[in-house]
């Protein structure tokens, strides 16, 4: 596990954290059946923040970010995204989902649609954008993730890294305010991890609000402005990356870091 994610200097000119709150989670609890996955979660994400959520597997970190766009339903507490509270009101859910982009561990591209169609689908059907305009936007973002020449191929014909970059472009086409990343590099070969992380760094450089569940500690160190450590469904520790890595407070964090950085 490398400590640095990129050797180039990261352009921090647009990476500013505003006072405006993008995501506010208070006293949130969630159960899967009888299993208490998330306990008393309190989290505030400001606009422009890059947050990395880490922790051992089964600690509830994926579940946490999946609650933010209601892929999982929480049972107690309050989640407010962009001023809209998540409740069972479908209108709020649809509104939040169109403002919050998400990338998955397994990309989840739509295999029956071409790359371009994957990217234009939601703008056309959810944003009611004209096809031509949607295609232009899509090509713009595909160029950004450096695969415009694959636009007419199907996802099954692309490598894992390319697919993940398409997935990022697909989310960006909805012009989201917030991006959620659920272990975006965990199912990739080492040489492909790099290209996906580079795309994510570029996104961070443009000032995107990002919440990333990832084991890429190099990314956390260089790009994140806050690292959150979760264990057993609780937020155990949160701090700036430098403090977090050099000076972990709780024993569980120390153990986790020694395991993940030890080799």
């Amino acid at each position: 596990m490398s400590d640095v994610v990129t050797e180039r200097a990261i352009d921090r000119s647009k990476m500013e954290v505003s006072d405006e709150i993008a995501i506010h989670i208070s006293d949130m609890n969630k159960w899967f059946g009888n299993f208490h996955v998330l306990r008393d979660i309190n989290l505030e994400v400001r606009r422009g923040e890059r947050i990395v959520v880490c922790g051992p597997s089964g600690s509830g970190k994926s579940t946490l970010i999946r609650c933010i766009n209601r892929l999982e339903e929480h049972q107690q507490g309050k989640i407010v995204v962009d001023g809209t509270e998540l409740s069972s009101d479908l209108k709020n859910i649809d509104k939040i989902r169109s403002e919050v982009g998400m990338c998955f561990q397994h990309f989840n591209l739509f295999p029956h649609l071409t790359i371009l169609e994957n990217c234009t689908l939601a703008p056309i059907w959810v944003r009611k954008m004209a096809r031509k305009e949607a295609e232009e936007t899509a090509m713009h973002y595909l160029e950004k993730v450096k695969i415009p020449e694959q636009a007419d191929k199907y996802p099954g014909q692309l490598s894992g890294g390319q697919q993940q970059r398409v997935a990022i472009a697909r989310s960006l086409c909805m012009k989201p305010q917030i991006m959620l990343f659920d272990e975006p590099t965990s199912s990739l070969d080492p040489e492909m991890i790099k290209e996906v992380l580079d795309t994510m760094i570029e996104l961070a450089e443009e000032g995107m609000t990002m919440v990333c569940v990832t084991h890429e500690m190099g990314f956390a160190r260089q790009v994140a402005n806050r690292v959150i450590f979760m264990d057993d469904g609780q937020i155990v520790e949160e701090n700036e990356p430098k403090e977090f890595f050099d000076n972990p407070k709780s024993d569980r964090t120390k153990l986790f870091l020694s395991q993940i950085l030890g080799h």
Partner: protein, 427 residues
């Protein structure tokens, strides 16, 4: 680990794959005689095919087409087929007792059938889908005849109901549920108050009539096609809805769908057909006559819809949950995601099963002979009851089998074409 990012920006041009050596003798040696066991199997298979065809080919090829009865056939040559029965009765096999001077109507309906399924089957013609929608009405009017206005009135009712729904939702900004209720209410009000006077008025102003044909005059392959194609067209959407209902989070919807599917699948089709032909009359208010062919179509439809639902559920189950999540995360609504993401993939996976059900349904239409409708099999018994043709078996059934085979083989070929076309990966 190097930290210089490498992302390939240009594709390397592809070099052609090696040309496989093809040579007839090599092919034969590799595929038929690659070892002593395979050589033996090849020889045995060839012998088997020979034995099968040895008697059949001369029997069919030398068949007699000109005799007037089975007696004459036997006098000419008792060892060959007597296809004369088909020459004498082909009209009945195709049309049943449909009046000869009106044959142009089923033929025209049949031709229009191809035009109406083209937009569904071939994407290039998709913009003519409106014809597929009005085709059922045209077909009903052409086949049964009578005045055009009742059929027109039904289409008018459906369009106006759609218009009411659209206006309520978009002009008056009512909620979907409310607009839907209003539309349904309008639909019933239309049939209670408007339909009768409307039909009467137009029958008077502009009488467009065809000779009325009774359902019992229908028969032969025409009947099979009507029941089969209506069943296929109707059971497919119903099957999709049932499959979705079975996966629904709403307990009542789920219960109804599961109950329906399990009940219908657990009952033989013949029982349902008997219900259609006999029992339904007891349940309906006295005096209502409910066309026998329509009753049969309804039964065949719900029967195959139950099977279709299970086949499609298999396709739905095969989809990774990530597809649902990705479409939800992009903000697509339930119906949008079903229509654009889930169903195209689930249906593609279930093509073999769906076509299997279609073919099964089409062949099951021969069961209507049990309730004394005269489909080709029912007609075969009738023809054999004729003194002139009493004793004929093979020739009739071979001909009927061939007609069904052509239709079913066509469906199977189309499904294979569709599977090839929808393949989107490299394998």
């Amino acid at each position: 680990m190097s930290n210089i990012s490498f992302v390939r920006e240009k594709e390397i041009p592809q070099s052609p794959p090696p040309i496989t050596e093809s040579n007839a003798i090599r092919w034969v040696r590799q595929n038929l005689f690659s070892g002593w066991l395979n050589s033996l199997l090849t020889i045995l298979s060839v012998y088997f095919i020979y034995v099968c065809l040895r008697d059949f080919i001369p029997w069919a090829y030398g068949g007699i087409w000109t005799a007037n009865s089975i007696r004459e056939c036997l006098d000419i040559n008792p060892d060959v087929a007597c296809f004369s029965v088909i020459g004498a009765r082909w009209r009945q096999l195709l049309f049943g007792f449909y009046p000869t001077e009106e044959y142009w109507r089923p033929i025209l309906t049949f031709v229009l059938l191809f035009i109406s399924i083209a937009p569904v089957l071939i994407p290039r013609f998709a913009r003519f889908f409106w014809f597929s929608l009005i085709y059922p009405g045209i077909a009903v009017w052409l086949l049964w005849g009578g005045s055009i206005w009742p059929v027109f009135s039904i289409y008018l009712a459906i369009s106006l109901t759609g218009l009411v729904f659209f206006l309520a939702k978009n002009k008056f900004k009512l909620s979907s549920g409310f607009s839907f209720t209003a539309a349904i209410l309008f639909f019933f009000l239309y049939f209670i108050f408007i339909a009768g006077p409307f039909i009467a008025l137009f029958k008077y102003i502009l009488p467009i009539n065809l000779v009325l044909i009774e359902s019992l005059q229908f028969g032969g392959f025409l009947l099979s096609m009507i029941v089969g194609f209506s069943g296929i067209a109707a059971s497919f959407p119903i099957g999709i809805l049932l499959a979705l209902g079975r996966q629904s989070d709403l307990p009542l919807v789920k219960m109804i769908c599961v109950g329906f599917i399990e009940f219908i699948r657990g009952v033989p089709l013949i029982t349902l057909l008997f219900v259609a032909s006999v029992l339904l009359n007891y349940f309906l208010p006295p005096g209502t006559s409910f066309d026998i062919i329509i009753r049969v179509i309804i039964m065949v439809t719900i029967f195959s819809a139950a099977y279709m639902a299970e086949v499609i559920r298999g396709g739905l189950a095969a989809l990774p949950v990530g597809q649902h999540e990705a479409s939800a995360a992009l903000g697509l609504s339930y119906w949008q995601s079903q229509r654009l993401i889930i169903m195209p993939q689930a249906l593609k996976i279930s093509i073999p099963g769906i076509v299997n059900t279609f073919i099964g349904l089409f062949k099951d239409t021969t069961l209507v002979s049990i309730i004394s409708l005269l489909d080709p099999v029912g007609l075969a018994s009738l023809i054999r009851a004729d003194q002139k043709w009493n004793g004929i078996y093979w020739e009739l059934y071979v001909a009927i089998g061939l007609m069904f085979f052509i239709c079913c083989f066509g469906m199977s070929q189309y499904s294979q074409y569709l599977e090839r076309k929808l393949k989107t990966d490299n394998s």
